[in-house]
């Protein structure tokens, strides 16, 4: 369930799964200590942020090594940017923004590993309705979403941010957030269909999902 939540509490998304914690108001206490020059507080702050930064970077970049780079770059950017952090947004929200930007930078740098366009995506076909869905394959499917859509889906379903927070992180209108999340999830449905043993349905839906993603954002 989305919405503003107690800081530091893991969230349950629409799918019922527990997500990465959205952060803690206690972060601000650490931030203030860091600003006062407390190196131990900085270490604690970075350690506290690492899991969620890593989670965003890992799913945004779709690659362990790229995620390591992006996460480290995000932490560096956080350290550099702390003096200018005005506290108007939650620290975790700001940190997510930094992580998304670092991931997008990393993706741009790693064009040599660019995935195929979604409409060229070859859906793995698995026989049998009881066949399980492999996390690795879901990871791969997510990676095939355009980065803008992937970011919205990851921030919502993996990080548990609400739409307003995602809008703040991505600096886009809330309506665009809703559209990107919807289309991003819809694009994953054919993949899940294929995994569940419905390749025919998956192929049909894949075409419409691809068309939806190509049609661009709604305001």
């Amino acid at each position: 369930v989305a919405g503003r939540r107690p800081s530091g509490v893991d969230q349950v998304t629409a799918g019922g799964a527990t997500t990465v914690s959205g952060g803690s108001d206690e972060d601000m206490a650490l931030v203030n200590q860091v600003r006062a020059g407390d190196r131990r507080a900085l270490e604690a702050l970075l350690h506290g942020q690492y899991p969620r930064l890593w989670a965003v970077c890992r799913q945004m970049t779709g690659h362990d090594a790229d995620a390591s780079d992006a996460t480290q770059n995000a932490m560096m950017a956080i350290v550099r940017g702390l003096p200018g952090f005005d506290g108007r947004s939650r620290f975790a929200t700001w940190a997510y923004r930094v992580a998304v930007n670092a991931s997008l930078d990393e993706i741009r740098r790693r064009t040599r590993r660019a995935t195929d366009p979604l409409d060229e995506m070859t859906l793995p076909v698995v026989d049998g309705a009881d066949q399980g869905i492999d996390r690795v394959q879901i990871d791969a499917a997510l990676r095939r979403l355009p980065p803008d859509y992937r970011a919205a889906v990851v921030l919502r379903d993996l990080c548990g941010l609400d739409y307003a927070e995602i809008a703040e992180v991505l600096e886009i209108p809330p309506g665009t957030v809703r559209s990107r999340i919807s289309r991003g999830r819809a694009a994953l449905v054919p993949f899940l269909d294929a995994q569940a043993g419905h390749p025919g349905k998956a192929k049909t839906r894949q075409s419409s999902s691809s068309a939806a993603l190509r049609s661009g954002d709604r305001p």
Partner: protein, 303 residues
């Protein structure tokens, strides 16, 4: 969404995906949410679509914790490609945080430091710049012997490499960027030239100062280099054969010896660099050489 009737119209009598998705996320105004909920309850098609989108959301959410099982009747889990699991995650965090802390300041670990002075990692600009030679780097020869670690695979220099910052007199505020792209890289006239250049690099680094902590304050965590190097090694496994076929412009690998330790260097044509010829510096755990103003190599130093 303020009026469900519009959404239903767009969905041709059914809720459209945006409404269903927002309904799943409890992101609809109360009145609209109640209307949508009622519609969904009485509409098999919308219920099915709601299940599908919810399952997509859940599949992504289940990626949150490596090793956690997906839930749901048709879903079973297998681990993300994170063989180290939770312990590896902690280790990765420790290394990354330590590297950032090292980069933040040269102040003692327990002392105060100044924010905003951490050297850029290049995230914003994609620019790769070098670092000062580390006066505490110590002797590569001694370090490699003592650690019993072979010098690793030589790596690469990449696109956007601002070699103006790669020489030994580089901007001291240059970033500790050690992850180096391979999309546009330098070449060497021959493996012999490369070897001599690398040996000169080692000698230069040996001369930089007394022994100190491996990696020094300019380094970034070795795990990144390890991952990158392994990746590059795999990616360039066929480089020699490709080079033989493709000619001098193709990438190639050449065996070299650094301080008596076997190593391998990959070279990549088409790097355009602007650094002064023969200049050497360290970037993280790599030694960087600019040769003839157009060539560059990064040799992993083995710690």
């Amino acid at each position: 969404v303020t009026d469900l009737s519009d959404a239903v119209r767009q969905g041709r009598g059914h809720l459209d995906d945006e409404v269903i998705s927002a309904l799943l996320d409890d992101e609809l105004p109360t009145v609209v949410r109640d209307q949508a909920d009622r519609h969904r309850s009485g509409c098999a098609r919308c219920r099915q679509r709601s299940d599908e989108l919810g399952r997509a959301a859940m599949s992504v959410a289940a990626l949150a914790v490596p090793g956690s099982a997906l839930t749901g009747s048709a879903l079973t889990g297998s681990a993300l490609p994170d063989p180290a699991g939770a312990a590896g995650h902690r280790s990765r965090a420790d290394l990354a945080v330590a590297a950032v802390l090292r980069a933040c300041a040269d102040a003692p670990a327990s002392g105060p430091f100044t924010l905003g002075e951490a050297r850029s990692s290049g995230t914003d600009t994609g620019t790769v710049r070098g670092l000062r030679p580390n006066p505490r780097a110590g002797s590569l020869r001694r370090r490699t012997r003592g650690a019993g670690v072979l010098v690793g695979v030589a790596a690469v220099v990449g696109a956007g490499l601002a070699v103006g910052g790669l020489h030994s007199g580089a901007d001291p505020a240059g970033p500790p960027r050690s992850v180096i792209l391979a999309s546009s890289l330098g070449s060497f006239s021959s493996p012999t030239s490369l070897r001599s250049t690398l040996e000169a690099t080692v000698a230069s680094i040996d001369a930089t100062g007394p022994a100190g902590a491996p990696g020094g304050t300019e380094s970034v965590p070795c795990h990144q280099e390890a991952a990158r190097t392994a990746e590059l090694a795999a990616a360039t496994a066929a480089v020699p054969a490709a080079s033989a076929v493709a000619g001098p412009e193709a990438n190639f690998a050449a065996p070299v010896e650094l301080s008596g330790v076997p190593a391998e260097v990959f070279t990549f044509p088409r790097l355009s660099v602007a650094g002064a010829a023969g200049t050497v510096t360290r970037v993280g755990t790599y030694a960087v050489v600019v040769e003839d103003g157009t060539c560059a190599v990064v040799a992993r130093l083995g710690w």
